[in-house]
């Protein structure tokens, strides 16, 4: 694992992340973030991009199958050099497995057959064996499963997404507390930035307001020409 002195500069150059759900925009744009990430060692940059590819749905090809996702995960995760990032990637896919199980059950479908490739990590068999239990019998290890189940069954998509991102944010923040000026710290910053970016992208009203602000800022003194309220007067 590269421990470059440049990471002191990189981490100090990144603005602090606000608590999730409290901001209507990311503290730094993706473009500027990418410029700062140019300070990463080449190996670390490639590894971070691969971790993001694995963890972000929007970076996956539309025609990819569950089998292919699982093959990718099984081949890539053991190669992650940092134990912390390996744990984070594994945890994220395990959470995704639990969510896949909950959604599948909410659709009234039977548990996956043992040969069906559908989930990743240590809970796969446990979930299929406890298919009827509200929390798949995972309440002790994963106390949020029952709440996830309730939200999915109520079709509360926004509430569920908020809960999911909140749990993920907490997990990554705890992991980030152990790292300061290392590649792990940078990677966990970017992964949490992704969470803020994802949440702010969901907020339609705030997105529209921000868009209006950006347009007005871009128009500058010409904004009045396009002001519909003044045009009607």
């Amino acid at each position: 694992m590269a421990r470059s002195p440049r990471y002191y500069m990189l981490m100090a150059s990144l603005p602090p992340l606000p608590p999730v759900f409290t901001s209507d925009q990311t503290p730094i744009s993706r473009l500027r973030l990418e410029r700062r990430l140019a300070l990463l060692e080449p190996d670390d940059r490639a590894e971070l991009a691969a971790i993001e590819d694995l963890m972000r749905w929007d970076r996956l090809p539309l025609d990819i199958t569950d089998q292919e996702i699982l093959e990718r995960a099984h081949s890539f995760i053991p190669q992650i050099r940092s134990a912390t990032l390996r744990e984070v990637a594994t945890w994220r896919l395990e959470v995704r497995t639990v969510v896949a199980g909950l959604r599948r059950r909410a659709l009234g479908r039977p548990p996956p057959s043992p040969r069906e490739p559908w989930g990743y990590g240590r809970w796969v068999r446990y979930i299929t064996h406890n298919w009827a239990a509200t929390d798949f019998g995972l309440g002790g290890a994963l106390p949020w499963v029952a709440e996830f189940s309730r939200l999915i069954n109520q079709n509360d998509t926004l509430g569920f997404e908020r809960e999911l991102l909140g749990i993920t944010w907490q997990y990554m923040s705890r992991a980030a507390d152990r790292h300061f000026f290392t590649f792990e710290a940078v990677a966990l910053y970017v992964l949490r930035w992704d969470i803020i970016s994802r949440w702010t992208a969901y907020n339609g009203r705030l997105a529209q307001e921000r868009f209006d602000r950006l347009v007005n800022a871009g128009l500058g003194e010409y904004a009045e020409l396009f002001d519909t309220s003044s045009a009607t007067r």
Partner: protein, 149 residues
């Protein structure tokens, strides 16, 4: 054997400065990297961040003083073990404190960039690290004064 002992004695005389300087270089580099990163993000107060990066240089000054104190003793087979022990251990102590201080300053710069009002308080950990360097420095002088020869 005598040559080896004298070599160790001279290594002890120069170690406080050499190892202290190595520590200062690394410490200033770490704090400097963090300061440069902060400069990319803040709009003002550049000077105070750059000023902090100089703090780990004090260990080199302590090393110079201890080196001169040890130089007052003639390097002989009899004095060499004492000079080596005091000098090398002092050098290691100063080097480690300078590197640790650089890391503490990087955190301080990072914290005060996010929250400027904690600037003064955030330097406290680096000042505490400096205190340990001062302990090493003072007691190295005391021991150097008690060294026979």
């Amino acid at each position: 054997m005598d040559t080896v002992m004298e070599l160790l004695g001279w290594a002890g005389v120069f170690s406080p400065l050499a190892l202290g300087a190595v520590g200062s270089m690394v410490g200033c580099m770490i704090a400097g990297q963090a300061a440069c990163g902060a400069l990319l993000e803040v709009e003002r107060g550049y000077g105070r961040y750059i000023g902090l990066t100089a703090l780990p240089s004090s260990q080199t000054i302590y090393g110079i003083v201890v080196m001169f104190a040890l130089m007052t003793r003639t390097v002989t087979v009899a004095t060499a073990p004492g000079l080596a022990a005091i000098g090398i251990l002092t050098g290691v102590g100063l080097m480690m404190s300078a590197i640790s201080q650089g890391k503490a300053l990087a955190s301080s710069i990072s914290a005060s960039k996010a929250k400027p009002e904690v600037f003064g308080l955030s330097i406290a950990p680096a000042a505490i690290v400096e205190g340990f360097a001062v302990f090493v420095f003072v007691f190295a002088l005391v021991l150097a004064g008690n060294l026979a020869g």
